[in-house]
C-alpha cells in the first residue's frame, strides 16, 4: 500500500496534456532570452555576472572585510609603530613586518620598513584590525585585486597598502614636536 503524502502533486488535464505547459515554459525562457538579448544588442549589459577581474562588483556591503589599508598620520607618516600585534594574532601568518628605527622622530622611534601582506594566504578575518592598538590597519570594502598565476605576485607591499586608498586618521591627534618634549621631559 502506497502512502499518501500531504503534498502529493496533482495535475489537471491541462497540465497532463504536457504540450501546453511545455509551450508556456518555452515562452518564459524565450522571454528572458529576448529581453537579455535586446539589452546586449542595445549595448547594455544583459547579465548579472561581473567580468572579474576587469570589473568589480559595486554592491559590496560597507561592512565587508576586504583589502587592508595602512593609515597615515597627519604629516603623511605611517601610523604603524611595528608592534607586531597584528602579525602575532594573524591566524594565517600572512603579515610580515620588518622594523626600522627612525631615531630622528623621538615620539615614534619604531616604524615598519616593510609591511607586507600575503593575499594568497589572508583569510580576511579582521583580527589584525581588532588587535591594532594604533588604528594603523583597517579594512575597506573592496576586494584585493590580485588574480594571477603566480603566488609570489600576490603580496601587497607597504606602499600599496598605504597609497591605494590613502587614509589619514584625524581622530588620533599627536602632540606637536616642541610641546611633547616639554610634557615628557619637564
Amino acid at each position: 500500500m502506497k502512502k499518501d503524502y500531504w503534498n502529493k502533486p496533482s495535475m489537471d488535464l491541462w497540465e497532463r496534456l504536457y504540450i501546453f505547459e511545455i509551450i508556456r515554459g518555452l515562452c518564459i525562457t524565450g522571454a528572458v532570452f529576448f529581453g537579455n538579448m535586446w539589452k546586449w544588442i542595445t549595448f547594455r549589459k544583459g547579465a548579472l555576472t561581473a567580468y572579474y577581474p576587469e570589473e568589480l562588483r559595486a554592491d559590496y556591503s560597507s561592512a565587508n572585510r576586504g583589502r587592508h589599508i595602512l593609515t597615515q598620520r597627519e604629516n603623511g607618516q605611517i601610523q604603524c609603530v611595528s608592534c607586531n600585534m597584528c602579525a602575532t594574532v594573524c591566524p594565517a601568518y600572512c603579515i610580515e613586518i620588518q622594523s626600522a628605527a627612525p631615531l630622528d622622530d623621538p615620539f615614534h622611534p619604531k616604524a615598519p620598513d616593510r609591511f607586507e601582506i600575503d593575499y594568497s594566504r589572508c583569510i580576511f578575518c579582521g583580527f589584525c584590525v581588532e588587535a591594532c592598538p594604533e588604528d594603523a590597519i583597517r579594512m575597506s570594502k573592496d576586494t584585493p585585486d590580485f588574480p594571477g598565476f603566480d603566488r609570489d605576485k600576490m603580496w601587497a607591499t607597504q606602499d600599496l597598502l598605504m597609497n591605494w586608498q590613502p587614509n589619514r586618521d584625524p581622530a588620533k591627534r599627536y602632540p606637536g614636536a616642541g610641546q611633547a618634549l616639554q610634557e615628557v621631559h619637564p
Partner: protein
C-alpha cells in the same frame, strides 16, 4: 559528363562545409543561448592573440570552437584494456557517418542553371565559358537526387542506432552497456512514430521525393498563405519535432547519456577524437534534423512569394530578379531557416526537464505513436475525400 562532376563536387563541398560549419557554430550557440537565458555571459575567456602584440581576439567566444577541436585532437587516446577492438573503433564512425550521408538527399536550393548564372554583358568571357560547357542544363541543388529520398533518410538514420549500440556493448563497461541499451530502445521506439509522421506527410504531398515536396510547398493556400507543411500539418510538425529530438538523444530525451546516472552513457570509455566524433555527430545531427524539418515542414529553400523569376506578390505585383540573385536568395533562406530551427531546438534543450526512463517509453508508445497513427488516418481520409472530389 565532366561538367556534371564539377557541379556535384561543388555541391558536396558545400554540403560538408554547411554541416560542419553550422555544427561548430551551434556549439557556440548552445553555450551562449543558455547563458543569455540564465542571465549569464557565457564562455568568453578563450582568445587568439595576434603575434607580437597584446591584441586578443575574443570574437564573443567563437574561438572556443577552435579550442574544443584542438583539445579533442591533442588529448591522449586512452582505451580500456578489456574491449572489443574492432567494434570499439568502428562505433564512432557508425554514429557520425550516417548523419552526414542523410544530408545528401536534402535540397539546399532550387534549380541551378550554370549557363544563366552570370550576366553576359558584365562578365562576357566567363559567361560564354559557362554557356559553352553547360548549355541550358539545369541542376537541382542537392547532392543526390533520389526519387525515394524520404525512405533513404529513414533507412540511413536508422544505422546510427547500430553505432550507439556497438559503442555501449564493445567498451565493456556497465555504464556504457546501460547507456547503449537505453539508446537502442529509445531510438527504435521513436523511429516508429517518426516514420508514421513522415508517411502522413507523404500522403499530403503525394510524393517521396524531397525536392518535389519543397516545390509542392512553394504553392499558396487561398492565394495568401504559403502552403508550408507546418500550416497543413501542425500536429505532425510537433510529433516530428519531438521524435527528432528523441532520435538526437538530447534533453529532454538524453537518458542514454545522462550524467547523474550513467556518467556519460554509451561513450563513457571513449576519449579524445573518438569522443569528439560522438559530440560532432550530435551537433551535425541537430543541423540535419533542422534541415529535414525545414525541408518537410517549413518550405525548404522557399521564401514566400519568391519564384524562379522573382517575387510574385499576392496583389498582382511582380519584382523580377536575375537567376544568380534567386539562387543566392534560396541558399541564404535555407541557411537562415536551418539556423533558426536549430536555435529553437537548443531553446527546448535548455527549457524542458528530463524524462524518467519509464515516462520516456510510455510517452513514446502510448502518446506519440497513437497520435501519429490518428494523424495518418485523418490525413488519409482528407486526401481520399479531396481526390474523390
Amino acid at each position: 559528363m565532366i561538367q556534371d562532376l564539377v557541379i556535384y563536387i561543388v555541391f558536396m563541398g558545400y554540403a560538408i562545409a554547411f554541416m560542419v560549419g553550422i555544427a561548430t557554430i551551434f556549439t557556440w550557440v548552445e553555450r551562449k543561448q543558455s547563458a543569455i537565458m540564465a542571465d549569464r555571459i557565457g564562455a568568453n575567456r578563450c582568445y587568439l592573440r595576434i603575434p607580437f602584440t597584446n591584441v586578443k581576439i575574443v570574437a564573443w567566444g567563437l574561438i572556443h570552437g577552435i579550442a574544443d577541436g584542438s583539445k579533442m585532437l591533442l588529448k591522449e587516446n586512452f582505451t580500456p584494456h578489456t574491449y572489443d577492438r574492432f567494434c570499439y573503433n568502428l562505433a564512432p564512425w557508425l554514429t557520425c557517418a550516417p548523419v552526414l550521408i542523410v544530408f545528401s538527399v536534402i535540397p539546399f536550393g532550387g534549380s541551378l542553371i550554370p549557363g544563366k548564372l552570370l550576366d553576359p554583358i558584365s562578365f562576357p568571357r566567363v559567361s560564354q565559358f559557362l554557356v559553352d560547357h553547360y548549355g541550358t542544363k539545369s541542376y537541382i541543388m542537392q547532392v543526390a537526387h533520389l526519387d525515394a529520398g524520404i525512405l533513404v533518410v529513414l533507412a540511413i538514420s536508422g544505422i546510427g542506432i547500430l553505432g550507439t549500440m556497438l559503442a555501449g556493448w564493445s567498451s565493456n563497461n556497465k555504464f556504457s552497456l546501460m547507456g547503449g541499451a537505453r539508446a537502442a530502445s529509445q531510438m527504435i521506439s521513436y523511429e516508429v512514430s517518426m516514420g508514421l509522421t513522415l508517411i502522413s506527410l507523404v500522403v499530403t504531398y503525394g510524393t517521396l521525393d524531397l525536392n518535389d515536396m519543397v516545390i509542392w510547398q512553394s504553392g499558396m493556400i487561398f492565394n495568401i498563405l504559403p502552403a508550408w507543411g507546418i500550416i497543413l500539418q501542425p500536429l505532425a510538425f510537433i510529433l516530428f519535432l519531438t521524435a527528432a529530438i528523441a532520435e538526437n538523444k538530447r534533453v529532454p530525451f538524453d537518458l542514454p547519456e545522462c550524467e547523474s546516472e550513467l556518467v556519460s552513457g554509451y561513450f563513457t570509455e571513449y576519449t579524445a577524437m573518438k569522443m569528439g566524433l560522438f559530440m560532432l555527430g550530435e551537433f551535425i545531427e541537430i543541423v540535419v534534423v533542422s534541415s529535414l524539418l525545414v525541408t518537410i515542414f517549413l518550405g525548404g529553400y522557399n521564401l514566400p512569394y519568391l519564384t524562379d523569376l522573382g517575387f510574385v506578390l499576392p496583389f498582382g505585383k511582380t519584382i523580377a530578379l536575375s537567376h544568380l540573385t534567386v539562387v543566392i536568395l534560396q541558399i541564404c533562406t535555407f541557411l537562415v531557416k536551418v539556423f533558426l530551427t536549430g536555435c529553437f531546438q537548443i531553446q527546448i534543450r535548455w527549457s524542458v526537464p528530463r524524462f524518467r526512463y519509464d515516462q520516456l517509453m510510455r510517452f513514446g508508445w502510448k502518446f506519440l505513436l497513437p497520435l501519429a497513427a490518428l494523424n495518418l488516418v485523418a490525413t488519409a481520409c482528407m486526401r481520399w475525400f479531396s481526390l474523390k472530389g
